[in-house]
């Protein structure tokens, strides 16, 4: 794991404020459980409202939490007054999204002036067992306001 220095000392409050403004995250009941320079975790609990036809959580919901985690991980390293947007991502689903609780982890791989590349993982927890269920590679973009 790489170590990064945030240029904005107040990055955590800036990132948490951005997360609060994502209504979809609050609709999902998501919590931001970790915010450090270059790493963000976002967590949801199982809810039948988010499921697909096999009663696992829909891949789009799993994608949503790790997309937000990666976006905010990139955002931790951006200057105050900037905005972040998702250019693109690719996700592989490794196992069914079965569990009580799901954690999307976003990690910066390479920060850049305009583009930041992140990798993401989603872990599922069931009865105390942890399982890697998805892995993401994504490109985020800084927008100067």
């Amino acid at each position: 794991m790489q170590q990064f220095d945030a240029v904005d000392p107040d990055f955590e409050s800036r990132v948490r404020a951005g997360f609060q403004r994502q209504q979809f995250m609050s609709t999902l009941g998501a919590h931001m459980t970790k915010v450090t320079a270059g790493e963000v975790h976002i967590e949801i609990r199982f809810n039948p409202a988010w499921t697909q036809q096999h009663e696992f959580v829909h891949g789009g919901v799993i994608t949503s939490i790790v997309d937000s985690a990666c976006g905010f991980a990139a955002f931790t390293l951006m200057p105050a007054g900037s905005e972040v947007l998702t250019v693109e991502y690719k996700i592989n689903f490794l196992a069914p999204a079965r569990g009580d609780r799901f954690v999307g982890i976003g990690l910066v791989v390479k920060p850049g002036r305009t583009l930041t590349v992140c990798s993401g993982e989603v872990l599922a927890y069931q009865n105390g067992d942890e399982r890697l269920i998805a892995t993401m590679q994504t490109t985020m973009m800084m927008i100067a306001r």
Copy 2:
């Protein structure tokens, strides 16, 4: 656009039944507005509950409808008694998800015995204007029950 022949003459009712069982699609208020051999459309209306920090629809929601559209497009060409799952996808966001209504379009590019490759698009409609806001490339897998 390629033409495909479905091996299952009842593919439409099978696909629509699968869609009905995706609780997340009903949570989103999604409708399946087209089902033909190799092509499926899924539509949602704007709802502030699905938005991100800039008040556009969250990328994960946009991804969800086109993921489902691609999965069901692949499923139209699979035999009765099979199941479909998403192996992976990659999506590029081309414009902000601003609009009254969003249509995810899934198209089969190459059906296969085990794997089917699809391409997806998401169109946003606002005051009658249509705009391409996302494009997806994805691999779906057939599971024989």
Copy 3:
């Protein structure tokens, strides 16, 4: 297919000059067989030197021609004096790269000030038959010199 207007009337000579400077393309014996605003074709002939263990052309060579085709397709729409670089791509291999001749086709999907999204295809030709063997989705970036 979308129509695009090139801002640089001399885009074709600029693009062809860039292609001439890609030594790897000349190592592969590649030809640029089409250059229009938003679309570029690059063609190679079969050569056992480019094969993998099953005697088909290596996926990395197939990727190389369609990566260059997409990059130059994006470059047709960029202003004189700019440079293009590949941010990222995703490619699906649909069929073995078996044939006498392979054509990588790059098409602009969405041009942008900084980022341009393209889609690519690779066609294989054998005894007059044409087959789609790969499909790409990619993000290109303009660098102002």
Copy 4:
């Protein structure tokens, strides 16, 4: 890093034999410098014949070594008598491919009966400095002969 057990005790000789049959790897002067269960390294030296217009190594060549490294990493965990093929990959280019020597590293993330997901990295070496220049996420498929 995960630890994997290879089902085939002779995986190394099987993997090295597969690599020997990839004529494109020998055209590139590539060497397989590491083969363990779930991890393979493939190395090339700089050669102007592989360059693009800015005199860096072409992205397609960088992709080729890490594609092969990932494919053979997946292959280390497959049974004797099987074959491996690349379903798809996504690669981000993080820095120009400038250097004397380039190492493609393939790592298994999740092995499966049919599909294996790998992650790849490419390191560039110049005057003793090491730099991460590309990161890949890929799906490989086992073919039973």
